[in-house]
């Protein structure tokens, strides 16, 4: 596969000339292209693969203030475009056969810049699956009997290039729970020592807090993992037991006769150059003590080698703990970002499937010319003079899409370099109808915009009134108190909310990007009402009318950490002491809000 690495040598000058000539082409060309897009999908063949995404865009032509400006702008745009095209020209593309769950397969063209996430999105469109977060692309290594789920942020093409030419490796499209399990049930990974019942009964807010603590802080915290694993020694057939420890900096083991103290630990492997794989059938293949085996190797290694490290665990769960822990240590916050993106995608997709017509788009049929699962990349030979045919349409997404939440732009946009995007609306309105995929995205359901799922407000009221809310550790959002007790029936004697209430209410909607934002203290009425503290401070009825506003400010009063100690007598929630504390806290809060 050496040839794959060789970049095409292009005569830059000629290329430039070509590109600049292209610039003069305008809408007509685009129109032609779009029409081309609407044409029935031609069979996928290798010649199509080379169609590039370099369809030129009209030079800027919107109303401009001065001539110089125009010229400068034109020049800038030209250079930019030319550069993009230059890059584009060198882009490698790979035809990849992906095996579906049902044994069928789909063939895609993947551009070397695409991430696994983009390919997944592409597959969602093709398969009309439910787009849930578990959908994954996996790589299997036939010769080594290994399996690995690609991470969503990974480059798709790179690992495939490491395959040998005659490889029987496969890419699978499957639901893999393990990919994001740590974000659904972080307690199973971070508090795995606790008993099963505690883990099972973990409240959502505690889960959120765990994620916050471990993934959203300044530093990523890996699960505290330590245990005896079986190690297949380099190139040998025997398996040896060792006490291993996972740290952010790598896997370590305790050498014979030493203590577990950090400074005595011996580094077994660091994660920069290895990936973690699941090893299949190791009992038979390597006389392993168990079949719960994970493997660490450099992605380039494809055959039996002493540089592959095999580690066996006593049970399936331990193995998954370690594999997830290693991924956290290796990828850190990226994993969390992947999860959030996948979650958003799944919400958007479900909205899509609900709204769009079922009759579907370009079902790409595997081309007969494709052998094996991977075809060599096709160098770019011409630069955008052909209208791109539909199949690549999906593939050629603009380079890493900045925000996956956004509804996918109409494909006509997507098939162009993203640079001069802004010209699109004026120059060429997206076609109102055409292929399904060209439909502008349906309006998003408002909740998506307002509160991305990962930042959903805390669970509905469920904690006891009398008990103190657990003091949340150092994080903002996770530390939101349990919601207030259900509002009591309106008390007429309470003062009406002040006029400023509306403004306050507004500010109670924190921007979703800032989960740590804590709402400002509740408006005055709360304090006045709490002057003579009733056991649990009843939220003013005004709040009851606006549940959203209600949840937080009242909570921020209620959430107060456990009462400070009193002399000998325990402080109970509703007791006199508690009430006193409450009123003082409120005074304090009021002071804060006054500033």
């Amino acid at each position: 596969s050496e040839s794959l690495h060789e970049l095409e040598d292009t005569d830059l000058d000629a290329l430039m000339a070509d590109l600049v000539a292209d610039l003069s082409a305008t809408e007509e060309k685009l129109t032609a292209e779009i029409q081309g897009l609407k044409a029935p999908s031609p069979p996928l063949s290798s010649s199509l693969v080379s169609t590039s995404a370099t369809s030129p865009l009209p030079p800027p032509q919107a109303g401009k203030p001065s001539k110089e400006d125009i010229e400068a702008q034109m020049k800038a745009d030209k250079i930019k475009l030319a550069l993009e095209k230059l890059k584009e020209a060198k882009v490698k593309k790979l035809v990849v056969k992906v095996l579906m769950n049902d044994g069928s397969s789909k063939t895609l063209m993947v551009d070397e810049r695409q991430t696994v996430r983009e390919v997944l999105d592409n597959l969602f469109e093709k398969t009309h699956c439910d787009a849930n977060v578990d959908w994954s692309l996996c790589e299997t290594n036939y010769e080594l009997q290994l399996e690995r789920t690609f991470e969503d942020h990974e480059n798709m093409v790179e690992p495939l290039l490491a395959w040998t030419r005659d490889s029987e490796n496969k890419v699978l499209f499957q639901e893999r729970r393990d990919k994001f399990e740590v974000f659904k049930n972080p307690q199973n990974f971070y508090l795995w020592k606790k008993d099963k019942k505690t883990l099972k009964d973990m409240k959502d807010k505690d889960k959120e807090l765990l994620i916050k603590e471990n993934f959203c802080g300044p530093s990523i915290i890996v699960p505290d993992l330590e245990g005896v694993l079986y190690l297949k020694e380099d190139g040998k057939k025997s398996w040896k037991q060792r006490l291993f420890q996972l740290r952010a900096s790598g896997i370590y083991y305790v050498p014979k006769g030493k203590t577990k103290s950090s400074r005595d630990l011996v580094c077994f492997v660091q994660f920069d150059n290895v990936n973690v794989y699941f090893g299949k059938d190791v009992k038979n293949r390597y006389k392993a003590p168990t079949d719960f085996c994970f493997v660490l190797k450099h992605p380039q290694i494809q055959k039996e080698s002493q540089y592959i490290k095999y580690l066996c665990c006593d049970d399936d769960w331990t193995m998954r703990l370690w594999m997830t822990g290693i991924r956290i240590a290796k990828y850190g916050a990226l994993l969390h970002g992947n999860y959030k993106a996948a979650e958003k995608k799944s919400v958007v997709s479900s909205a899509w499937t609900n709204r769009s017509t079922p009759s579907s788009s370009n079902q790409s049929t595997p081309s007969p010319t494709i052998r094996g699962t991977r075809c060599p990349p096709h160098p770019q030979e011409d630069f955008g003079n052909l209208p791109p045919p539909p199949p690549p349409l999906n593939e050629i997404l603009p380079p890493p899409s900045p925000d996956p939440v956004l509804p996918p732009p109409p494909p006509s946009l997507a098939s162009k370099p993203s640079g001069p995007h802004r010209k699109q609306p004026s120059g060429f309105p997206p076609p109102p109808l055409g292929i399904d995929n060209n439909l502008p995205p349906p309006p998003l359901p408002p909740p998506i915009d307002e509160a991305p799922p990962d930042f959903l407000p805390p669970p509905p009221p469920n904690t006891g009134i009398g008990s103190f809310p657990p003091p949340p550790p150092n994080t903002g959002f996770g530390s939101l108190p349990p919601p207030p007790p259900p509002p009591p029936p309106p008390v007429s004697s309470l003062p009406p909310p002040p006029a400023s209430f509306g403004g306050i209410k507004k500010s109670l909607h924190p921007p979703p990007q800032d989960p740590q934002f804590l709402p400002p203290p509740p408006p005055d009425p709360v304090f006045t009402s709490a002057g003579a503290p009733p056991p649990p401070p009843p939220p003013p009825p005004a709040f009851a009318a606006t549940p959203r506003a209600n949840a937080r400010p009242a909570g921020s009063v209620k959430k107060m950490p456990p009462a400070p100690p009193k002399r000998t007598t325990p402080v109970a929630g509703g007791g006199g002491g508690g009430g006193d504390l409450m009123s003082e806290l409120m005074l304090a809060m009021k002071k804060r809000s006054d500033h």
């Binding site: 300044p218 505290d224 103290s261 950090s262 657990p470 456990p562 400070p564 002399r567 325990p570 500033h595």
Partner: protein, 631 residues
């Protein structure tokens, strides 16, 4: 003190009290001056006493900072409207009239000492806030009172007195102080590290925590005298909103505290981690010398013009293929061939190396071309023996191929090493970091040369740092500098490109990722237990550690905590967690107040929001940390 009443014709009564003598020591009169005696009545308020005193001393000065300190009761008489009777002051009271703001020597995390005036009458919490305000020009800084005073434990430290009496108006001085606070210190000499006190066990670490001052009481009440030396340290390991742009001082001091924690093994780490910390320290000290103040170098280019310009430049760089390294390198393909470095003509292009029989044949097909992307690069260098080997572990489908390149001299080695490193990360020689990579490799070589003995060529030693300065004393014994230097260099390659603030942040991140990070230890005796155990207090949890084995026995998270109480009579802390879990313990190496303040402090932090509120909720802090005295 008999009372007389005068009854006015209108029926009003007025109580008159007998006058008595009150003697007050006025500090400004000098240590030997006798107390000033004034005649007062019990209904005279404190303000009146002060007026009388001032009149009597006949000194003209600004008395506004002065207040009365009641020595026996250990309290300030700050409520000037209160009468002597209300305070319960009689003729036998020993009162001292003195300023509330008094000089103090503070040991900063970076080892420097500052002398400043601190308030001796406010609760320590507030005093610390005031100090933070003085120490930094950035308004944000003063809002983050994570500095808490700790009494100095070793008086033998050399006094690096950096005089700065609080005349901050003069900008030059201000600048000097600011520099001292915001620029990282150069690595200390290895002997300095060795001489410092190092905790040898968890119990040692626990003892240090017994010394935190009570934040709800004032300095005077805790027997702190004028000109005493105190440690100023970050006590709570939650660092809010650390923004390298605005928090330069905090970031720097935090780094210094972390660095010393690592060097003195206050927190344990592995050898690999120690090498990385060492590499970062080296890098930080290098960068901060070369780019003082300029913390953020790589700002995003928002201007299209400049973006285009750089694109154009880059394009030029790409099109001209002046990015080749061609040289004769001796080469040993596999380890198995024992001898035999054969000489070939090598060409470095993009991320690959290719080799030819000779220079003449280099136009044709190479014997082999090796792509270095994703490979491991390790040095095998002995300057004294003029051995300059580059060991490459090149991944291939069959496994890793080990390849050695033998360079002729330092210069060649630095170039090829730099090229290999960049290539392993997928960067070509055209990358802008190529030259700086060469530079750093050469400076490391220089270090090795200087360390390896001969003092004859010590001329260029200003460029070098003794690598023993970068690691804890354990490694001074384990490795000679010439063994240590390549290891640190090895770790250095991953951080060499970081800007100063990024490097500082990275240091803190790795520190925070250590398993024991954020733990403050206290030796305790659990209720019902017969042996001492250690309680570790972390930002989000408490852990119980068995002293014998050193294992964590149990972990409790604060978010499951329902309440905690301190029984001040029997000095016992009791905590209730969800699910009817109750624990209680008495504290052995620290007052239970300290444990209480730690827990309360962390819970206080968790209530702090991210909003940029200017106000720190002091009441809440005291409520959570103060105990019964504050209620």
């Amino acid at each position: 003190n008999s009372k007389y009443s005068i009854i006015f014709p209108s029926g009003c009564t007025c109580n008159l009290m007998a006058a008595w003598d009150l003697s007050v020591t006025v500090e400004d009169l000098g240590p030997d001056a006798p107390p000033v005696t004034i005649s007062v009545a019990s209904d005279l308020h404190v303000g009146g006493v002060i007026v009388k005193l001032v009149e009597k001393t006949q000194i003209k000065r600004d008395w506004s900072d002065h207040a009365l300190w009641w020595d026996q009761k250990k309290m300030w008489l700050l409520r000037t409207a209160w009468t002597l009777e209300k305070y319960g002051i009689h003729a036998d009271a020993r009162l001292i009239f003195m300023p509330q703001h008094r000089p103090l020597k503070l040991d900063l995390p970076n080892g420097k000492t500052v002398r400043l005036r601190a308030c001796f009458s406010d609760p320590v919490f507030q005093t610390v806030m005031g100090i933070c305000r003085q120490l930094s020009t950035f308004p944000l800084f003063c809002l983050l009172p994570f500095y808490i005073l700790k009494v100095c434990i070793s008086m033998s430290r050399p006094c690096l007195y950096n005089g700065m009496p609080a005349h901050f108006a003069e900008s030059e001085k201000m600048e000097a102080v600011y520099k001292m606070l915001s620029i990282t210190q150069t690595p200390p000499a290895p002997e300095v590290i060795t001489k410092q006190y190092r905790p040898a066990s968890v119990v040692d670490k626990a003892h240090i925590n017994g010394r935190w001052l009570d934040s709800s009481r004032c300095l005077m009440q805790q027997n702190i005298q004028e000109n005493d030396r105190l440690w100023l340290r970050f006590k709570y390991y939650t660092f809010y909103e650390l923004d390298p742009k605005y928090d330069v001082v905090r970031l720097t001091q935090l780094y210094e505290q972390a660095r010393w924690a690592i060097l003195l093994e206050d927190i344990d780490c592995t050898e690999e981690e120690m090498m990385l910390f060492g590499a970062l320290q080296y890098h930080i000290s290098k960068v901060s010398q070369s780019e003082p103040q300029a913390l953020s170098t790589n700002t995003a280019m928002d201007d299209l013009e400049s973006a285009l310009l750089s694109l154009e430049v880059k394009m030029e760089g790409e099109s001209s293929s002046a990015t080749e390294l061609c040289v004769n390198v001796r080469f040993r393909p596999k380890r198995l061939t024992l001898k035999g470095y054969k000489q070939y003509w090598f060409k470095f292009q993009d991320t690959s190396i290719a080799y030819f029989k000779s220079k003449e044949e280099s136009i044709g097909e190479p014997i082999q071309q090796i792509n270095l992307k994703g490979c491991e690069v390790a040095p095998d260098v002995n300057v004294a023996a003029q051995k300059f080997l580059i060991r490459l572990l090149i991944p291939a489908p069959e496994g890793m191929n080990e390849v050695f390149l033998r360079c002729e001299n330092e210069r060649q080695y630095a170039q090829w090493m730099a090229g290999c490193r960049l290539a392993s990360k997928g960067k070509s020689l055209a990358d802008s970091s190529f030259q700086s990579e060469i530079q750093s490799i050469r400076s490391f070589l220089a270090m090795q040369r200087n360390n390896s003995g001969s003092s004859s060529n010590a001329a260029s030693s200003d460029e070098s740092i003794n690598t023993h300065s970068l690691v804890s004393p354990r490694y001074h014994k384990k490795y000679k500098t010439k063994q240590l230097t390549p290891r640190i260099l090895d770790a250095y390659q991953n951080v060499a490109q970081l800007s100063l603030s990024d490097a500082l942040m990275r240091f803190l991140q790795i520190w925070q990722a250590l398993p024991d990070f954020g733990l403050s230890y206290v030796v305790v005796r659990f209720k019902g237990s017969r042996k001492d155990e250690v309680l570790g207090i972390a930002p989000n949890r408490l852990i119980r550690i068995d002293l014998g084995v050193g294992d964590v026995v149990k972990t409790w998270r604060y978010n499951n905590m329902k309440q905690w109480n301190v029984n001040w009579d029997i000095r016992q802390v009791a905590i209730e967690f969800e699910g009817n879990v109750n624990i209680a313990f008495s504290c052995v190496t620290a007052d239970c107040r300290i444990v209480h303040e730690f827990i309360g402090g962390y819970i206080f932090m968790s209530t702090r929001s991210r909003e940029k509120s200017d106000v720190l909720n002091q009441e809440l802090f005291h409520k959570l940390t103060g105990g019964h005295e504050a209620l």
